[in-house]
């Protein structure tokens, strides 16, 4: 009895994934964490491959160095440049702190049509000490060499003008080459602070 109790206690107190369990379970597997510190970009240039069918990026309290700049994302498709061609949609829900302005609307100024530049993920983020943006982006089947690469993101932003913006961005990298890198940048200036985590979703392939 004493042995059984001790073993049970030990198993419930495990805080790290055993290798064998990670191979067969469907949990999110943390692959990389990038922490900004006045960073020009946060880049994930490894571990994006055919190991998982989908990858999840969680960006947490992204704080710009420059007031009103937007978080953007770009993809690498085989070269060293983060310039994969993208077509995207961008719409948002808006509410200000004053409580007198609301909107749900598509934003033509922030989508892309076969663009090679970085795609907008947010509205302009404020640089007040408590202002930032957080959200997540799912990238599906990045290593496919048959299909375009779909991605879907949802982000909440505390803006420079004291608005709450929830932005919905989705689209595809219109390439059949594998996507093997993802880079987050601000529309101008550095990422002053914040964390981005990349997970593999589900069982390994």
């Amino acid at each position: 009895m004493a042995i059984r109790t001790a073993v049970n206690r030990a198993l419930t107190e495990i805080t790290a994934l055993p290798t064998a369990a990670a191979l067969v379970n469907g949990n999110l597997t943390l692959l990389a964490t990038e922490t900004a510190s006045s960073s020009a970009n946060l880049t994930f240039d490894s571990n994006i491959n055919s190991t998982y069918d989908s990858y999840l990026f969680k960006y947490i309290s992204i704080h710009p160095a420059t007031n009103g700049e937007q978080l953007k994302i770009a993809f690498r498709d085989g070269s060293t440049a983060y310039d994969a061609t993208k077509t995207t949609t961008f719409f948002r829900a808006v509410h200000n702190e004053a409580g007198n302005d609301t909107e749900v609307a598509y934003r033509t100024a922030q989508d892309l049509a076969q663009g090679t530049g970085a795609a907008h993920l947010t509205q302009g983020i404020g640089t007040d000490n408590d202002q930032s943006a957080s959200g997540e982006l799912m990238l599906l089947a990045p290593s496919s060499t048959t299909f375009v690469k779909h991605f879907i993101a949802r982000t909440n932003t505390y803006s420079a003008d004291d608005y709450n913006y929830t932005t919905f961005v989705a689209g595809y990298c219109n390439v059949t080459a594998a996507i093997d890198g993802v880079q987050f940048i601000m529309s101008s200036g550095n990422i002053d602070a914040g964390v981005i985590k990349m997970y593999g979703v589900g069982p390994k392939q």
């Binding site: 030990a10 805080t15 064998a20 077509t87 299909f147 779909h150």
Partner: protein, 220 residues
């Protein structure tokens, strides 16, 4: 000394147990709040439907988990210009005709830069209808070699016998005429009978290729 010997045995036994684990303990995320537990992956190969049946082929779709999540990865239609859709059923029924009331709206943007819009799809929603629910809008998915639909669908508490069964989905897809479509569908199965099975299919023709993964999400 007996205590030390005992601990030594415990450590060896425990080490071996951890090394040989094939499921993840709760504290490591295998059973904790919000944990995704992979249940089943179905791969299309010119498939008329992809069916997840509780109790069949290792599929669990009952009160084991309060929330179930399907992930669609590059579902490619055999026929050009079709809709990707789903329905559910109860018990061992195979009609897939549960009553649905739902909403369906999408953002669109053309590769040529035209038509950046956000619009509600009155053809893609349901009002107490028993037909299959589109997971794109009524603008249709193309079947060029590189075109597909990907995304996810969450169904809440399907085995509940008190409440209706809510669902929400978000997909991105290649529209027939080279638009990107980002569709949000949400609604409920207006039944208090437990749902036991879910079927996915194209509105016409086969699912030529693609994967659908089913996960359970623990909340306690």
């Amino acid at each position: 000394m007996p205590i030390i010997k005992g601990l030594d045995k415990l450590i060896k036994y425990n080490d071996r147990s951890i090394k040989d684990l094939t499921t993840t303990p709760a504290a490591a995320g295998g059973g904790g709040t919000g944990a995704l537990v992979h249940i089943k992956t179905l791969t299309a190969s010119s498939s008329a439907t992809l069916d997840f049946l509780n109790g069949s082929s290792d599929v669990v779709f009952d009160d084991t988990y309060p929330i179930y999540k399907f992930e669609f990865i590059n579902c490619h239609p055999a026929t050009d210009g079709v809709n990707f859709s789903f329905q559910a059923d109860t018990g061992t029924n195979t009609s897939y005709n549960q009553t649905i009331t739902s909403t369906n709206f999408s953002a669109y943007h053309g590769e040529n830069g035209n038509s950046g819009t956000l619009s509600y799809s009155t053809g893609g929603d349901k009002a107490q209808a028993t037909t299959f629910q589109n997971l794109n809008s009524t603008s249709e998915i193309g079947n060029n070699n590189d075109q597909s639909i990907s995304g996810e669908l969450t169904i809440y508490n399907p085995s509940n016998t008190t409440f209706v069964k809510h669902f929400m989905s978000n997909t991105n897809w290649n529209e027939l005429y080279d638009f990107t479509g980002n569709t949000y569908v949400a609604g409920y199965f207006n039944t208090t009978t437990a749902l036991t099975r879910v079927q996915f299919k194209m509105s016409s023709g086969n699912i030529d290729a693609g994967k659908i993964k089913l996960f359970g999400i623990l909340d306690s």
